[in-house]
């Protein structure tokens, strides 16, 4: 970001708009809605961004806002009850084996898209945006334990999907 004025609108847009759009795609599933969500998020930033005092939080603020806008735009049909680690089924993914073949990126995206959004949302933020479990918890507004459960379970599903496809 621009060192002189890191929160300048154009600088923030330049830095984050493509990653926000990617997240929008993963939520909305199409380019038009993802574009609208991204545009709306920056419009809110333009009006409210100055209230953010901690500059290091710009990224999570933007992702949280986009996610809220998405939820606001679409009433979820089903609830996603928070699961604590204790409530999780103890299905330990086999962490030992890597696929012997080269991973097919399109296939990875396809399987990600097919996952329930409970798992797709944290996995997208983890793999595509390199966010930590704490940042993901903040953006999705769920407890850390829930994010961990969804990440570990989602990774297991992704692995199973890739194995089945190979």
């Amino acid at each position: 970001m621009n060192e002189n004025n890191p929160l300048e609108f154009e600088t923030v847009v330049e830095t984050f708009y493509s990653s926000l759009f990617r997240f929008g795609i993963s939520l909305a599933g199409n380019e038009a809605d993802a574009s609208d969500l991204t545009q709306q998020t920056f419009l809110i930033w333009a009006n409210k961004g100055e209230q953010l005092r901690d500059q290091s939080k710009v990224k999570t603020w933007l992702f949280t806002t986009l996610y809220r806008e998405f939820l606001r735009s679409r009433r979820r049909e089903k609830n996603h009850p928070s699961q604590s680690l204790d409530e999780m089924e103890l299905e330990i993914p086999d962490g030992g084996a890597l696929p012997s073949h080269e991973l097919d990126g399109q296939k990875v995206l396809e399987i990600l898209k097919g996952l329930d959004e409970t798992y797709r949302e944290p996995l997208t933020l983890f793999y595509l945006e390199d966010l930590s479990y704490k940042e993901i918890a903040e953006i999705l507004e769920v407890p850390i334990g829930t994010v961990m459960s969804r990440l570990s379970r989602g990774k297991g599903m992704l692995r199973q999907g890739l194995e089945a496809a190979s």
Binding site: E10, V13, E14, D36, S73, P99, F126, S152, K155
Partner: protein, 250 residues
């Protein structure tokens, strides 16, 4: 913490530093130090994660997106216009079709008038909040919300019957119902982090109004509703919240 729990935690963390200050993560890493299998599983997961990340192709970004954002305007969905060929040889069928449309229009207007009753408005309000919508005006200030609704010829002189302490106004939009314009104002209940939506319609536009000055509570499609009337408007307040939470607002 048992081994399975430690593994679940480790599978979502990229490094020890990432979990600094988080006692559960620190405990899981401590456990890993004395458990070679756990360490092997974590390292394999890191390798797997990197392979997944590297495999994912770049997402193409729409060329005009940045410009649209920088314009600082409300998003507007693209509309595809279709040019329909209209050769003279088709005039007669088109004229017949136009007559049919005109007739249907008259029928629709009459039907809309019939359907303008409050019970259907309640259903419309609930269904609307469950579908995909975006707010046209984002604001925490009720004056700005009223101003936007006034400028768009939607009901704006409404009275808030319920308590708004602990609630934040999010914005508004216009919602059409059977040819009439109603207003929708969205609030967030801060404690619950849940939204409720207030729909307002002019009394003169609708029949079979709910009780005057006192909310009537009901549930529809999983939403809690409160409906009432005052001197000028009919109201529906609805949200996907427990009924007792909605009642607490009054």
């Amino acid at each position: 913490m048992n081994r399975d729990e430690a593994l679940k935690i480790l599978l979502s963390v990229r490094s020890r530093e990432e979990g600094a200050g988080d006692s559960l993560v620190e405990e899981a890493f401590l456990q890993m130090e004395s458990d070679p299998e756990l360490k092997q599983a974590w390292e394999a997961q890191q390798k797997w994660d990197r392979a997944i990340k590297q495999s994912i192709p770049a997402t193409p970004i729409p060329q005009d997106l940045k410009q649209r954002i920088l314009s600082r305007k409300e998003p507007k969905k693209s509309r595809i216009s279709k040019i329909i060929p209209f050769p003279p040889s088709l005039w007669l069928p088109w004229a017949a079709a136009a007559l049919l449309v005109f007739g249907l229009g008259i029928w629709k207007i009459e039907r809309q008038e019939e359907e303008r009753n409050f019970a259907l408005f309640e259903v419309h309000a609930v269904d609307y909040t469950r579908g995909f919508f975006m707010l046209s005006k984002h604001s925490e200030k009720m004056d700005e919300i009223r101003g936007w609704l006034s400028a768009h010829h939607s009901p704006y002189t409404f009275q808030i019957l319920f308590h708004t302490a602990g609630m934040e106004q999010l914005g508004c939009r216009q919602v059409e119902f059977c040819g009439i314009r109603s207003s929708m104002v969205c609030f967030e209940i801060e404690g619950l982090k849940k939204e409720v939506h207030l729909f307002i319609v002019d009394k003169d536009d609708i029949k079979n109004l709910p009780p005057y000055g006192v909310p009537a509570f009901s549930e529809k499609h999983g939403n809690a509703l409160a409906c009432w009337t005052d001197d000028r408007h009919g109201y529906v307040l609805t949200g996907n919240i427990p009924m007792e939470e909605l009642k607490k607002l009054f």
